[in-house]
Amino acid sequence: MAADPANLAYVRTEEAPLLPPPANEAGVRGWLIKNLFSSPLNSLLTILVGAFLIWLIWDTVKWGLFDAVWTGENREACTGEGVGACWPLIWDKFPQWMYGFYPIDQRWRPNLVFLIGGAALIPMLIPSVGGKLWNAMFLLIFFPLITIILLSGGHVNFLAQTYAAVIALLLLAAVIVPIAAFGLEDGLQRNRPGIILAAAALLVWLGGFLVDTPSISIGFARVNALPFFSMLLAFLAGVVSLKVALADNSGAGRSALKGWALIAGGLLLAMLLLDIDFGLEPVETSQWGGLLVTLVVAVTGIVASLPIGILLALGRRSKMPVVRMFSIVFIEIWRGVPLITVLFMSSVMLPLFLPEGVNFDKLLRALVGVALFSSAYMAEVVRAGLQAIPRGQYEGAQALGLSYWQMMAKIILPQALKISIPNIVGNFISLFKDTTLVSIIGIFDLLGIVQAGLRDANWASAASAPTGYFTVALIFWVFCFGMSRYSMFIERRLATGHKR
C-alpha cells in the first residue's frame, strides 16, 4: 500500500552532511571550557591551583635536578648556599639502607632471599599463571624456611630433649587419626586404649607442674621423672592409635594416616633442616637492618595475621560464650592501644613473662608484638566480611549436612574473604607503614637506619636530611601505592556482578 518512494520529492536519497560540533563543546577548547573554566569562580580556582602546582613542581625539580649535587666524597660537596639535593649521600648509604649492618661479604644471602621471594611472588600475583596451590605452598612453607636458614645461617642446635618432646607431641596428636578416619563415635570406640593412654599422659604432664619429682637416670642422661613418664605414655598412645588406623582395611584409615605422616614428617624435616650446619656464617639479627628488616617484619606480620585473624573472627561470632568472650577481649585490647605501647610491651614485658633463663631475640619479640597487633585488626576485617554473607548461605550449608568447619572452609570463608580483599590489602598497607615504629624500640629498619645515617658526622649538612627523607619516602610510596593499585585490579577482576 505504500507510496512509491521514487515519486516523493521530499525524501532524501542520501545522508545529510554531518555538521561539526559547536566549537565550545569539542576539541581542546571545549575540554578546557568544560573542565577548567566553566564559571568565573572555577576559572579563578584553576588559575590559583595551577599557579601553586607549577610553583611546587618547579621547586621540586630545581631542588632535585638543577641545584642538586651529584658527585662527592663527603659533606664538603653538599655544604654551601642554595644547594639542593645531596645525591652522593644516597650513593654512599644505599647499601646500608638495604641490608643494615649485614656483613658485606655475606650480602649475597639477603640478595638470594629477595630473588627467590620475587620469583615466587610474581607468578602468584598474575592471575592467569596456573599452579597457584603449589606456588602458595612454596611461599608459605618452604620460602620462610629458606629465608630463616639463609639469613640467620641456620644451625640452630636443637637439644635432644626438644626432638623427644616434638616427637611425643606428634604421637599424642596421632590419637585423633582414627577419629578423623571413622568419625567421632566410631573412632572413640575403636581407639579406647589410645585415648586412655593419651589422657593419662596429659594428666601426668599436668601433675609435673604441681609436684616436684626427683630426677631419675635413664642410662645416658638424667631426666625429671613425671615429664619423662608422660612422654613414654604419649609414645604408647600414638603407637596404639596408629595401629588402630592401620588395622582397618577400608581406605579411610590409611588416608588419615597419610595426612598425619605428611605433617609429622614435614615438621621433623623442617627441624632437621634448621639444625643442619650448612657452613653458612651465623649472622645475629642485631646485624640485620634496612629494607631487609622492614620486609621481614611486614611479611611476618601479614602472613601470621591472616590465620590468627580468621580464627579470632570466627571466635567472635561463635555461639560458645567463653570462646566469644576471649576473642572480644583479645581483639578490643589490641585495637584499643597504640602499636608503640604494644612494642614497648613486647620489648620490656615479654621477657618478664618467660621463665628465667629463657631469652629470645629482640627482633623476634617485636615480631610477636606486630603479629598479635595486626591479627586483631585482621579479625575485624574478616568479621565484617562474615557479616556480609547472607544467612541463607549458612542455612544452606547446614541443610546439606556440612559440619561447622566444612561449612566455614568450603562455603562461608571463600565468599567472605573475597569480599574482604580490598580491606585486607588496606590492612597490609597500614601494617607495612606501621613497621617503621620498630625503629623507636631500637631496631634498625629502613627508617631507623636512615635516621642513624643522617646523624653521621661525615655527611652532616643542611641538605642531607631532606635528601634522605625524600628518598626513603619515595621507597615507601612505591610499595604502598603499588599494593593499593594491585588491590584495585584484583577487586575489579573478582567482581562477579553481585553489585548493582
Binding site: 580556582l45 601553586f52 607442674f209 560458645m320 560464650p321 570462646v323 585490647i333 627508617l447 619516602a473 610510596w477
Partner: protein, 394 residues
C-alpha cells in the same frame, strides 16, 4: 525404632555428638589451658621481679621524678612526682589530639569535596594530595616536618614575624598571650548568654518554620550574638584586657605563648596525614547519596548550594560518621608517635618513668588503661551521635 528414642520422643545421642555437651567440653578445655597459661605467666613474672629486685605496686607514683618536661599545661617541675609527670603527659596527649582532630577534619572535608569538584585541575590536586600523603608512613612525615621543614627555619634573632607579635623560628612559634584584668568575667558571661540566646533563636525559628513555612536567618543572628554580646560585656567594664608580647631575650624569646617545634611538627604531620583518610570517607559518603536525590532537589527548584546543604550533606553524614569515629580514634593513638621526636605525651613521659624506675608492668598498664578508656569514650560518644543522625524509617 523404639529402641533409639526415649519416652519424650527425643533421639538418644551419645554425649560426643550432642552439640551442647561438645561446646561445654571445648569451653572447659579452653578455660583450663588459659588458667595454666596465666598461672605460668604470673609465676614467671614474680620470679623475674624478685631476681631483679623490683617491687611491684604503684608506690613509685608519689616519688619525686627528677626530670623536666618541655611543655606542660599544669605547673610541673623536676621536684614533682612521677604521677604528676604522667598526668602532664596525659594532658599533652589530649591537647595534641584535640587540636589535630579539628585541623584534620577541616583539611579532610575540604579535600574530599575538592576531589569531587567538576574542575579537573582541582580534583586532580586533591587526588595528588591524598595519594602522596597516605602512602608514606606517618612516622616519616613527623621526621620530615621536624627536621626537614622546621629545623632549617632561621634562629630567634632572624625569626620570621607578623606585626612583631607572632614570631616563627627554629625554636617554635611565639604568640602574644592575652592577660585579663578585673571585670573580664563579664565578657565570659556575655559569651554564655550568647550561647543560650542562639539555642533559643534556633528553637524558635524551627517552630516558626514548621508552623508558617517562613524561614529565619539563624546562622547570621547567631554569629552576631556570639561576637556582639561578649564585646558588649567587655565594653561595659572598659576592655580590661592587654596582650603580653613575646620579646627577644638573649638567645630565645620570653613572654607570650610558645608553641614548641615538637608540637608543631606533630600537629602538622598528624592533621595532614589523617586528613587524607577523612577526605576519602567524605568522598565515599557523598558518592553514596544517590544521584536521584540531587536531581529531585534540583527539580524542586533548590539552588545548588542548598541542594548540598539540605539534601546531600545530611544523607552523606550518616555514611561519613562511622569511619570518621575510627579515624579520630586512630589519630589519638597515633599521637603516641610523639615519643620519636620527644614531644612529652603520655607514652614519652611514661617511657622516661619506665626507664628511671623499671616499673614496666605498672607503666604499660597505665598506658593501656588510659588508651582503652579513651577509645571506649570516643566510640561511645560516636555511637550516641550516630544514633541521633541515623535515618529514622517507619
Amino acid at each position: 525404632m523404639t529402641a533409639t528414642t526415649d519416652v519424650a520422643g527425643k533421639p538418644r545421642v551419645s554425649p560426643w555428638n550432642d552439640p551442647g555437651k561438645r561446646a561445654l567440653l571445648i569451653q572447659i578445655i579452653l578455660l583450663v589451658v588459659f588458667a595454666i597459661l596465666a598461672y605460668e605467666i604470673v609465676q614467671n613474672t614474680l620470679a623475674n621481679l624478685r631476681s631483679r629486685n623490683i617491687s611491684s605496686g604503684f608506690d613509685f607514683l608519689s616519688k619525686s621524678s627528677g626530670f623536666d618536661i618541655i611543655q606542660s599545661l599544669v605547673p610541673y617541675s623536676s621536684n614533682s612526682s612521677y604521677g604528676r609527670a604522667l598526668f602532664v603527659g596525659f594532658l599533652n596527649t589530649l591537647l595534641i589530639s584535640a587540636v589535630s582532630i579539628v585541623a584534620a577534619t577541616i583539611i579532610g572535608f575540604v579535600m574530599g569535596i575538592m576531589r569531587l569538584s567538576k574542575n579537573w585541575l582541582v580534583a586532580r590536586v586533591a587526588t595528588l594530595y591524598i595519594e602522596i600523603f597516605r602512602n608514606i608512613p606517618l612516622l616519616l612525615w613527623i621526621f620530615i616536618f621536624y627536621s626537614a621543614v622546621l629545623k632549617p627555619l632561621p634562629g630567634p634573632r632572624e625569626a620570621l614575624t607578623i606585626f612583631d607579635s607572632f614570631f616563627l623560628s627554629n625554636r617554635g612559634l611565639m604568640m602574644p598571650r592575652p592577660l585579663f584584668g578585673d571585670g573580664a568575667w563579664l565578657g565570659g558571661v556575655g559569651f554564655l548568654l550568647a550561647l543560650v540566646a542562639c539555642w533559643l533563636v534556633a528553637r524558635g525559628a524551627k517552630a516558626r518554620q514548621l508552623q508558617t513555612g517562613e524561614t529565619f536567618p539563624v546562622l547570621w543572628t547567631s554569629i552576631a550574638l556570639i561576637i556582639g554580646l561578649p564585646l558588649i560585656g567587655f565594653a561595659l567594664v572598659g576592655f580590661p584586657i592587654h596582650w603580653e608580647y613575646p620579646v627577644l631575650q638573649g638567645f630565645n624569646f620570653g613572654g607570650g605563648i610558645a608553641v614548641i617545634p615538637e608540637f608543631m611538627a606533630l600537629f602538622l604531620a598528624l592533621s595532614i596525614y589523617t586528613g587524607t583518610y577523612i577526605a576519602e570517607s567524605v568522598r565515599a559518603g557523598i558518592m553514596a547519596v544517590s544521584h536521584g536525590q540531587t536531581e529531585a532537589a534540583l527539580a524542586l527548584g533548590l539552588r545548588p548550594g542548598r541542594v548540598l546543604r539540605l539534601v546531600v550533606v545530611p544523607q552523606a553524614m550518616r555514611v561519613i560518621i562511622p569511619p570518621l569515629a575510627s579515624t579520630y580514634l586512630s589519630l589519638t593513638k597515633n599521637s603516641s608517635l610523639a615519643v620519636a621526636i620527644g614531644y612529652p605525651d603520655l607514652v614519652a613521659a611514661g617511657g622516661t618513668v619506665l626507664n628511671q624506675t623499671g616499673q614496666a608492668i605498672e607503666v604499660v598498664g597505665i598506658w593501656m588503661v588510659v588508651y582503652l578508656s579513651l577509645s571506649l569514650l570516643t566510640s561511645g560518644f560516636m555511637n550516641w551521635f550516630n544514633a541521633r543522625m541515623r535515618l529514622v524509617e517507619r
